[in-house]
């Protein structure tokens, strides 16, 4: 099967500054694909190149096999939901939704019908004759969605569409977007800096940093088996420790933690030497029998969870997350505790 979107060694340079360093990605048909990364990582630039708002310096962008990298935006069968919606302020809601159809030369009756259906889909039928300024942020968001979906694009691009909404609305829209994507069967490419958004909606996520794709995978993949230090640090909360790997045998690496504690963990490709080790705070338990010792600095109450801020023997900070359950014993500040690492809690990272 042909990929919906295929990027091959895409480069974007602004003068002497390189914003995108040869990105290659394949996005399957009917996939909810997210570009995730901090601001300035190049995710929006990449999206805008797919939409056609930015010229590609080098590389190919294929849409169901056709190279579209050099086409004008109006010749690409992809549509965009803009960050601040960009609803045409001088046109009514229905005219906004019908705009793309009008440009495609579809006659008035047909485009009114189609635009009406689109508004029905986003539950805004009775707002058809309003002006965009008369709608709330959430309603404008839906109009923007209906407008972009009306011409039945092959791929829908969404540029941080939820960032202007408040928390409750954002959470509701996540569910709605995911449902919409499944119902329409259209490939969604979603750009965000919000990892929770990415983790909850996406089939696959590409984590980006400094103009490069750091890792592509499902939410579970990138959270539980991060490839490198950036991904481990950016997604969720983690303890990053500098470790010395002595030897690798049978896919297991033996190493020494800061403070001298020995540890082995699975690793296919590690080589002896200094590496970063990631340990997720929720994969550690406090146990008197634990041989790894730490001193508690402070306990932070988070409601559902408790965060224990501690230090290992050499002084490197180490965070532990405990569930706030009745049976949990809360350690006191200054106490020395033993830590138990679950199998698979530690992951050795490439740099």
């Amino acid at each position: 099967m042909t990929a919906a979107v295929h990027l091959q060694d895409v480069v974007k340079r602004y003068g002497s500054v390189t914003a995108i360093h040869g990105v290659s990605l394949t996005i399957a048909d009917n996939e909810f694909f997210t570009l995730l990364g901090p601001s300035g990582c190049g995710k929006t630039t990449l999206l805008r190149m797919i939409a056609g708002f930015e010229a590609v310096t080098a590389g190919e962008i294929r849409l169901f096999g056709d190279d579209i990298a050099r086409l004008d935006p109006n010749h690409r069968p992809v549509n965009t939901v803009f960050q601040h919606y960009a609803l045409f302020p001088h046109m009514s809601v229905i005219d906004n939704v019908a705009f793309g159809l009008k440009m495609q030369g579809i006659d008035l009756a047909a485009r009114r019908t189609r635009a009406g259906k689109m508004l029905e889909m986003v539950h805004l039928s009775h707002f058809a004759d309003r002006m965009p300024a008369q709608l709330s942020g959430g309603q404008q968001q839906r109009v923007a969605l209906a407008r972009a979906l009306a011409p039945a694009p092959k791929v829908l691009l969404l540029d941080e569409p939820l960032s202007a909404l408040d928390l409750k609305l954002r959470q509701a829209m996540r569910v709605e977007l995911k449902t919409l994507q499944q119902e329409t069967g259209i490939t969604f490419i979603f750009v965000t800096h919000d990892q929770e958004e990415a983790l909850t909606m996406s089939d696959r996520i590409a984590v980006m940093s400094e103009g490069r794709v750091q890792q592509v995978g499902s939410a579970r993949d990138i959270y539980e088996t991060p490839d490198n230090r950036f991904v481990a640090d950016f997604i969720g909360e983690t303890n990053l420790l500098e470790v010395d790997v002595h030897s690798v045998t049978d896919g297991r690496a033996s190493m020494t933690l800061p403070g001298g504690h020995p540890l082995t963990c699975p690793s296919a490709s590690a080589t002896p030497g200094r590496h970063a080790l990631s340990i997720r705070p929720e994969r550690v338990t406090i146990a008197a029998t634990g041989e790894l010792k730490a001193t508690v600095d402070r306990v932070v109450y988070l409601g559902t969870d408790l965060q224990v801020l501690s230090r290992l023997a050499d002084g490197s900070p180490f965070t532990i997350r405990l569930q706030n359950a009745a049976r949990t014993t809360i350690p006191e500040a200054g106490a020395t505790i033993g830590l138990h690492l679950e199998e698979g809690a530690a992951r050795l990272l490439a740099d």
């Binding site: 602004y14 708002f53 930015e54 010229a55």
Partner: protein
């Protein structure tokens, strides 16, 4: 996005052609030509001969007596006229600032609904023909005009105040002409002013007037400087107010230049030279302003 829009970029220069042609040919070129004229020789019927000379500038700055045979001395006549114009423009600027700042502040601190109305009231006179405004003022303050009649009727004065043809009248005319130029930029600055700064100052024991001096004035200074430029520059070259409200004693640059181009009494190279000197003065002020503005911007 920085750097504009890809689809417009190639059109930028073609779109600028009309403005380059029109302003280049009908504004820039004439000014350059005027510079050339200031070095030409005067012809008697009001015109020029194409002989290059410094005569116009010599006439402006140097005197050699009535018959031109005495040792060269500084000619004070025109320098005095320029000095008087600068002085009048400065006083006008100061007065406009004194009245304009409180007015702008007052308007900018009104509730949003009534602010528009106040601002509208201030801008209307700005849009009324300057000539008509000056004529109206002359009508109001002339010897047996409504102002003097009114003052005599309520017994404040017994004789009409001789206002027309005085420095005071010219001053009043200039002030009246350019006051809105002061109010508008200061208003814009005050509207952007963050009033939490005043509250913070008050919280830290500053009195109302200390807050004004230490916090408000420094913050809205760019608006005040812009207002001062907008008043000073046109006031310096003003023609209508001195011509209609003043007399021989209040002769200003505008009238001096105007006279050089009227009929056979005129002297075009001298008029061009006086214009060049006026433009140089304005340019100096603008350069100072640009430097002050960029310093404010950098700070």
């Amino acid at each position: 996005m920085a750097g504009g829009d890809d689809s417009w970029r190639p059109l930028a220069r073609p779109l600028l052609i009309p403005i380059w042609v029109v302003i280049g040919v009908f504004s820039l070129l004439p000014v350059l030509l005027m510079a050339v004229y200031s070095f030409l020789t005067k012809e008697f019927r009001g015109g020029v001969e194409w002989d290059f000379t410094l005569a116009a500038y010599d006439q402006f700055f140097v005197t050699r007596g009535l018959f031109g045979d005495e040792p060269a001395q500084i000619e004070w006549t025109y320098i005095t006229i320029f000095w008087r114009s600068i002085w009048q423009a400065l006083i006008c600027t100061a007065l406009c600032l004194l009245i304009g700042f409180p007015t702008a502040w007052f308007i900018a601190t009104r509730p949003a609904q009534s602010r528009g109305i106040w601002l509208f009231l201030i801008t209307i006179p700005y849009w009324v023909n300057l000539l008509i405004r000056t004529v109206s003022l002359k009508f109001l303050i002339r010897d047996n005009g409504p102002l003097n009649e009114g003052l005599m009727a309520i017994g404040l004065i017994t004789e009409p105040l001789p206002l027309v043809n005085t420095n005071l009248a010219v001053q009043l005319g200039l002030f009246y002409s350019y006051l809105p130029f002061m109010v508008l930029p200061i208003y814009a600055a005050v509207e952007r002013y963050n009033f939490a700064l005043s509250e913070a100052a008050a919280d830290l024991y500053a009195s109302r007037w200390t807050t004004l001096r230490e916090i408000v004035l420094p913050v809205v200074k760019p608006g005040m400087i812009a207002g001062c430029i907008l008043v000073f520059v046109p006031a310096l070259g003003a023609f209508l107010a001195p011509d209609l409200l003043g007399g021989a004693k209040t002769f200003m640059i505008g009238s001096l230049i105007d006279e050089q181009f009227k009929g056979s009494q005129g002297n075009w190279p001298f008029g061009a030279a006086a214009s060049m000197i006026l433009m140089t003065l304005v340019l100096i002020v603008l350069v100072f302003y640009a430097r002050a503005a960029s310093r404010e911007g950098a700070a």
